[in-house]
């Protein structure tokens, strides 16, 4: 009898936690990159919008390639990504409309202190990549079709090198996990500055190359074309574009800091014009 009561108690408890609240809220699905979500920026940027428009923004953080793919399948209403050539193709093919610049930061090339490829302090990222390949120093690639991966591959192409061989390792994982791999193997890696900053306290790798124009990392927001899929929440996607590129949105981006450093620079409105 006691046992029966105990089981009944457990079952009631389970049923209580399993009741799913029915969400009547309007929702907007935004596919974006892990770097924006992991930086914590979206947790600051989105709540004022959600409150103002009485909508829930569901952020699905994947690589840029996957985000674009989700949008093409009609599984996202809007994307916030960083890979300009892929973005332009997305718009040209009719999947996206009304792309706007949002913000930028930059990529940095990290490497071990003893720097076997001797690239520290170089200003030319393409030349640095060439030296890494020539010395066959281990290089970690994301290998996941993310914005960072696309950028990395475009630099190899510009250096006229096809990266392959035992020194070139593809992790297929996110930025943070890949930085960890590079750190453990004392290898070179290209990372976005935000993720590097998040890790800088725990790793031995240092910034060896930065500041090259090619390492510029701009983010754009693109609503998915409502002519493609009838269910898309295009109105709300446009409202979000308006909000993020407005004074209010750009100001939040401009003032967002982590580890005492500014992670993203607004680009829809010039910083000096942000009130």
């Amino acid at each position: 009898m006691k046992k029966g009561l105990f089981l009944l108690f457990i079952l009631t408890l389970l049923l209580m936690v399993s009741v799913i609240p029915v969400a009547a809220e309007e929702r907007l699905v935004m596919a974006t990159t892990t770097s924006t979500e992991n930086s914590g920026l979206l947790a600051e940027l989105l709540p004022p919008f959600e409150e103002k428009f009485d909508v829930r923004v569901d952020v699905v953080a994947v690589g840029t390639g996957k985000a674009i793919n989700l949008a093409q399948n009609g599984d996202a209403d809007v994307i916030l990504v960083h890979a300009r050539p892929a973005e332009d193709k997305f718009v040209e093919e009719g999947y996206g409309v009304n792309r706007r610049d949002v913000m930028f930061n930059d990529f940095v090339i990290l490497g071990p202190k003893d720097d076997p490829a001797d690239i520290a302090g170089m200003k030319d990222a393409i030349a640095a990549y060439k030296k890494i390949a020539e010395s066959k120093s281990e290089f970690i690639s994301r290998g996941d079709d993310s914005g960072t991966n696309k950028k990395e591959l475009s630099i190899w192409t510009k250096a006229a090198i096809r990266p392959e061989g035992s020194w070139y390792l593809e992790t297929g994982q996110g930025m943070g996990a890949s930085i960890n791999v590079a750190n453990e193997k004392e290898a070179y890696i290209m990372a976005d500055r935000g993720t590097y900053l998040a890790y800088s306290g725990d790793i031995e790798l240092e910034i060896l190359v930065s500041g090259d124009e090619i390492l510029f990392n701009p983010y754009g927001i693109i609503p998915v074309n409502p002519a493609m899929y009838s269910h898309l929440n295009y109105q709300m996607a446009m409202a979000l574009v308006g909000y993020i590129t407005s004074q209010q949105g750009q100001k939040i981006i401009n003032e967002y800091t982590k580890y005492g450093k500014q992670l993203f620079h607004p680009s829809a409105i010039l910083p000096e014009n942000i009130k």
């Binding site: 389970l14 049923l15 799913i20 952020v59 994947v62 399948n73 009609g74 599984d75 943070g176 998040a198």
Partner: protein, 232 residues
């Protein structure tokens, strides 16, 4: 070493202070796992009984398929259900991708074979005599069903607990179908993957500790049930 210590200290702080984000993730995981287990329970047990108690052509094939599906990789289920519920898929209209319902559908498919196979075994193991006597005394189908349930209750509970354990610890389905959306579909395992990726090892570790505790409680439940069986 120092590094691990720091992470552990942060983990305990988060747990003791009942950090809101942490609680959110844990309740989402529990809710999901309990719901999918409960929904999969009825068809799973019924099919288990049917397979165990009936002789039909192709039964061997079904058993082989079932045993294969026991070790179904979660990413396979995730990918399969994704292609079903994506907007371009046949069930796209239902708007299930990146929602709780999407994850539940995936998890049900994941654990249905487990519940069917384990309840089949549980039914198979019980003493045949009582069942045959009941039939000879003219028990109705419903009465037969109740009798089987009562006789195999420990084995069937074990099946449900095993299913629960499988879903609460899985990541493939939750990540692919839920999308790790903060406050909505973020579960213990997807949050752990993300926080580790962000370099917040303490948070990941705290979740790991909670997952271990849940696993311990679940196994304690199994032990309790087995103890009950031996005292009968």
């Amino acid at each position: 070493m120092n590094y691990l210590q720091e992470a552990l200290i942060e983990a305990f702080k988060l747990i003791i202070n009942l950090d809101r984000e942490l609680l959110d993730v844990v309740t989402t995981s529990l809710r999901l796992s309990v719901t999918s287990t409960l929904i999969a329970a009825l068809p799973g047990i019924l099919l288990g009984i049917i397979i165990s108690r009936n002789n039909f052509g192709g039964k061997k094939v079904i058993n082989v398929i079932l045993n294969t599906l026991l070790g179904l990789p979660t990413v396979v289920v995730g990918l399969f259900v994704y292609s079903l519920i994506s907007r371009r898929g046949p069930l796209g209209e239902l708007d299930m991708l990146f929602s709780i319902r999407g994850i539940i559908l995936g998890q049900i498919i994941l654990i249905l074979p487990i519940i069917i196979a384990l309840s089949r075994n549980a039914i198979h193991d019980i003493d045949d005599k009582m069942y045959k006597t009941a039939i000879s005394m003219g028990a109705t189908r419903l009465q037969q069903f109740k009798l089987l349930l009562a006789e195999a209750r420990y084995g069937i509970s074990g099946a449900l607990i095993a299913a629960f354990g499988r879903v609460i610890g899985e990541i493939g389905v939750s990540m692919m179908l839920g999308g790790n959306i903060r406050g909505v579909t973020r579960t213990i395992t997807t949050a752990m993957a993300m926080e580790t990726n962000k370099g917040r090892f303490g948070f990941g570790l705290a979740l790991g500790l909670i997952l271990l505790t849940i696993a311990f409680l679940v196994n304690f439940g199994v032990y309790y049930l087995q103890a009950g069986e031996s005292s009968v």
